[in-house]
Amino acid sequence: MSSEILIDPITRLEGHGRIHIFMNDEGSVDHAYLQIPELRGFEKFAQGRRAEDMPQITSRICGVCPMAHHMAGTKALDDLYHVDPPPAAKKVREIVYDTFMVEDHALHFFFLGGPDFVVGPTAPKAERNILGVIGKVGLEIGKEVIGVRKELRDLMTEAAGKAIHPVFGLPGGISKPISPELRDRFVAGAAHAVEFGKFSLQVFRDVVLSNAEYVDLVTSEAYTHRTYYMGLMDERNRPNFYDGRLRVVDPQGQEFLSFDPKEYLDHVAEHVEPWSYIKFAYLKDVGWNGFTDGPDSGVFAVAPLARLNAADAMSTPIAQEAYEELFSTLGGRPVHYTLATHWARLVELVNAAERMGELAADPEIVSPEVRTIPTETPTEGIGVVEAPRGTLIHHYETDERGLITRANLIVATQNNAARIALSVDKAAKALVHGPDVDEGLLNEVEMAFRAYDPCFGCATHSLPGEMPLIVEIRDLRGELVREIRRD
């Protein structure tokens, strides 16, 4: 008898969502839909606001990655006012951004996605969380994780005003230079972050790679899609989170596009479905051909694994080693295993930590020259960064007073939305059979989206937003047989 399963809300992610699984008479899955039930309307109420307030207003799209929105917004203001910040301002922005990247990736690995591996995908739900992780790795290590995170958050607070909802970004620079004392703390913080990154990679090796069952899970067809990948790259096609060109590789790993982010409208478009508030980004050059993978589908991915897939190398030595280990272990670039995103995230964590160290060692970073006062009339500006969870685009147009007339935002999770939808459907089809589905199995369906570290709060900035998860099981007549909700 056909039926439906509803998982509501999905958990250990930012925002709200639900998964609706339709079963057929044979007891297998016909289709699983990931729905986003919320929206907030930021682009609309941005109209009439002062452009310079956008980095602070848009950070409220997401309190988990406020620094990403703040930075994309600030870069859009540079472009809007046709102003080039002094070198020290750019370096301070980048070191703060790398600090954020380390901290946010650590948060995902230890608090959100990691518990599925460290505690176990089908462990009791009361233990599948950070407290379970601490129970597994020990209180001392748990306190160390908390301690490093605190050190990094304190550095961000000191330099940017607040870690949650920073205030330091201005068109043409930043509101405050960093002192030599603070620079010294960044030097120390970077060193701790590098050690922490190496430790985290070792945890991944010990917990995941040494467990054949987990390796089978990571490399199983249930969590695999052959898609395009996008990331922001430096001049040598190495990932840079703060600035660069957008590069796209095809499912074979060959360069497909490399473009100035200001040309994003030529290459990225958004598709609308009636059953979700999220919009699904796709590559315009390929076109929207429905929820499918392969070279003829414009579906693409962003976030850590996509960035590594799109890169020729990493910009720092320890990350480069880790990058090589990942690809040699998993059969070469590109890797299409969604769950390998957890590993790629830790490679990036080390990369960001090493980059922090490089920038902290640069004498220019303490220069008091951190502002260029804009003199030109604002018109239009585009700012792009790599958020921890992928490419983030802010695009503003203003009147001559610098009041916003139109804002367009494409966030990381929208870029990933179609692939996430594919992942949830495919995992459900592979894993869910018969009407008696246990909670652990449904968690394995959730792991298909959790790997992306999705932010459905971000993705629904456009309306009032949040994301619970629901799985409904219905029979052929549409009668609800079972509903599993997490609100």
């Binding site: 006012y81 748990g142 949650i164 949040e466």
Partner: protein
């Protein structure tokens, strides 16, 4: 002895309040020692059905962040109200509406129109929009209803206490949680923060002139502000005189003005109106045209003074587009009558 049970939940919010709890750092471990967290979707896998299974009043406290915009949010907060002895409106959005509350400047219809058709990257030529019910080949999918406006938590359920800030400062969170756990309950309706204006704790307070007047307001990018002098005295619109303290003046420390996220003190009904009058009283002008010239330097009064508090204000929302804004295409008044559900 069983530990008191608490729940954390989010509505129309950003997740920053959840991060603020994580930012308690090692204090989180003390909190976990003292209480059982039985619901917290960002971090724990418990579901609404787990909350439904609790006895009424079984939760010592529910900490709810975010404003209210959907039918789903209403249902969950009503459920938590039944289950909780105390409800704490956690953060600026739950207390005052917050930045998502600025959506009350736009109609629901105009938001949907822009997002699904008007935005330059959206391929919306066929007019497809999200529907509350959609027939797909396998069956029917549903989405929650979006209310016409954003509301504060206490416009939907009864609230016992308020924690201010965007997000609330960690030390205030820790104090509030421990006070509730230890039964040191303040007077119902209290805002759990110091009840004086930010200027009182500002490190630049001594540089604020007694008889401060402003002849010209600057926008933050127009000047390089001196890092030790009162920002108002430098012509930046700083809401310190009208905003509650307790944040540690962290924005001022970054050389940026206060934007008012901690909300008003207990003597103020409408934070935006208070902020507006505090700034207007500084204007150094006598003649009507002088006043207009200085006031005109504040180009976005609503976004400046009501940034965090529009839904809680006496204004609550914008009901009709004025001439200056009609270019933005905002048939707000028309949409408020409903019937725009596509």
């Amino acid at each position: 002895m069983t530990k008191p049970k608490v729940a954390f939940y989010w509505c129309a919010s950003c997740g920053g309040c959840e991060e603020a709890v994580v930012d308690l750092n090692e204090v989180v471990l003390d909190v976990v020692e003292a209480v059982d967290i039985v619901f917290w979707p960002v971090a724990l896998d418990f579901k609404v059905s787990d909350v439904e299974a609790l006895a009424d009043g079984e939760l010592a406290a529910a900490f709810i962040n975010g404003a209210i915009r959907t039918s789903e949010q209403r249902e969950v907060v009503e459920l938590l109200r039944r289950k909780a002895g105390a409800v704490v409106a956690f953060g600026a959005c739950a207390w005052l509406g917050g930045i998502p509350g600025l959506a009350n400047l736009s109609s629901r219809e105009s938001i949907l129109e822009f997002v699904y058709q008007g935005s330059p990257s959206t391929q919306g030529g066929d007019g497809v929009r999200p529907q509350e019910e959609t027939e797909v080949p396998e069956g029917r999918l549903r989405l929650p209803h979006f209310d016409e406006t954003v509301r504060t938590l206490d416009q939907v359920i009864e609230v016992d206490y308020y924690l201010p800030g965007c997000p609330p400062p960690s030390n205030l969170i820790a104090q509030a949680v421990m006070a509730l756990v230890e039964g040191r309950l303040p007077e119902k309706g209290s805002v759990l923060a110091p009840d004086v204006a930010l200027c009182a704790e500002c490190p630049r307070a001594e540089t604020k002139p007694q008889d401060l007047t402003v002849e010209r307001f600057h926008r933050p990018y127009e000047i390089v502000a001196d890092p030790d002098t009162c920002l108002l005295a430098q012509g930046l619109v700083c809401l310190g005189p009208a905003t509650r303290s307790g944040c540690g003046a962290v924005c001022i420390a970054a050389n940026m003005p206060c934007t008012g996220c901690m909300g008003p003190t207990s003597r103020v009904i409408d934070h935006g109106a208070k902020a507006l009058s505090a700034i207007a009283s500084l204007m150094q002008a006598r003649e009507q045209d002088e006043i207009a010239a200085i006031a005109g330097q504040i180009v976005d009064p609503v976004g400046t003074f009501y940034r965090y508090s529009l839904p809680a204000s006496l204004l609550h929302r914008r009901v009709a587009a004025n001439g200056a804004r009609s270019a933005a295409g905002e048939p707000v008044g028309a949409a408020s009558s409903g019937g725009d559900r596509s």
